[in-house]
Symmetry: C2
Subunit: 159 residues, 2 copies
DNA sequence: TATTGTTATACTCTATAACTATA
DNA sequence: TATAGTTATAGAGTATAACAATA
């Protein structure tokens, strides 16, 4: 049904094939966007049982292990606006997963720390995310995954 | 100013350093999201002079070179909902950059084709995007860029 | 003066459902 | 019965500006 239009084209290739060979084919930005979209979908699916979104999960990850970032630190690392961090932390705090600690050396800043509940939820969520990621990249060799991770680190943190 | 809190921490590393070493450090999803955010910013900045967004630019790229995709084809390749493609094409068509051609073999489907104006605008925009991308990845070697592209292709199109 | 957190607002993007015309 | 395009709507994400408290 769909191929009837395709064979009517000037070449033997389908529109889908021609799109793959389009100007976007070696466009890292486009590949990044598409890869990210797939990864986001998988992430949200994996996190739904924990009532977390990718962004709230990322905040939990940054707050785990006594990292003690300020809201500003979190905003910069996650490339979020500080005002977005406010409502994300509000939500996590309401749920008892993190809390705001006053910084004794600067009364303007809040240091965000994890509660025991948060730690426990994050542990489970972390496992689920890693499993989903393993599944999503199961067609890559361990070596390819390693190299992808290294290269992405360079692109994500250019400094 | 900022380091006063950091040195008060239990380790000598700043919160920023500790965040980099967090559970997210080897999380391909996170690196993908951050790299994509940087790439999107650069892309939008490069495309602003042409009055294009990344998504409308991507559609132009898919419509160039007599690819003749249907709106459905575009939606799938770009991972957009078909309803989003409608308004994107509406806008591009209003601006005279693309047009909808009826498919002679299936009266339900529109084949999207480029106008001469669209072709010309795309050529300039394409150059600008490639320049911005070169700039963004100037700290990567040509070999690293090549490998990144190959690996991303595998992740973006797993099939 | 500059910075942290906060509130408010508007805009873009994403996801879903329902409808029509065709197949 | 299924598919292409369309309309409508709500929710999530993004960007910006302004403010109070503090440095």
């Amino acid at each position: 049904m769909k191929s009837s239009r395709d064979v009517a084209g000037d070449s033997g290739a389908s529109a889908t094939d021609r799109m793959r060979a389009s100007a976007l084919k070696d466009d890292v930005s486009f590949l990044l966007a598409r890869a990210n979209a797939l990864s986001l979908s998988a992430g949200h699916a994996a996190l739904a049982p924990f009532n977390l979104r990718v962004r709230s999960y990322s905040i939990l990850a940054l707050v785990a292990d006594d990292i003690r970032p300020s809201q500003r630190d979190i905003a910069e690392h996650l490339r979020l606006d500080p005002s977005q961090v406010v409502s994300l932390i509000d939500d996590l705090q309401t749920r008892g997963l993190v809390k705001r600690d006053p910084d004794p050396t600067d009364r303007r800043t809040n240091v965000v720390v994890m509660t025991d509940e948060g730690r426990e939820l994050f542990r489970s969520a972390h496992d689920a995310v890693r499993a989903a990621e393993r599944d999503l990249h199961s067609h890559l060799s361990p070596d390819q995954r390693e190299r992808l991770s290294e290269l992405l680190l360079l692109v994500a943190f250019p400094d």
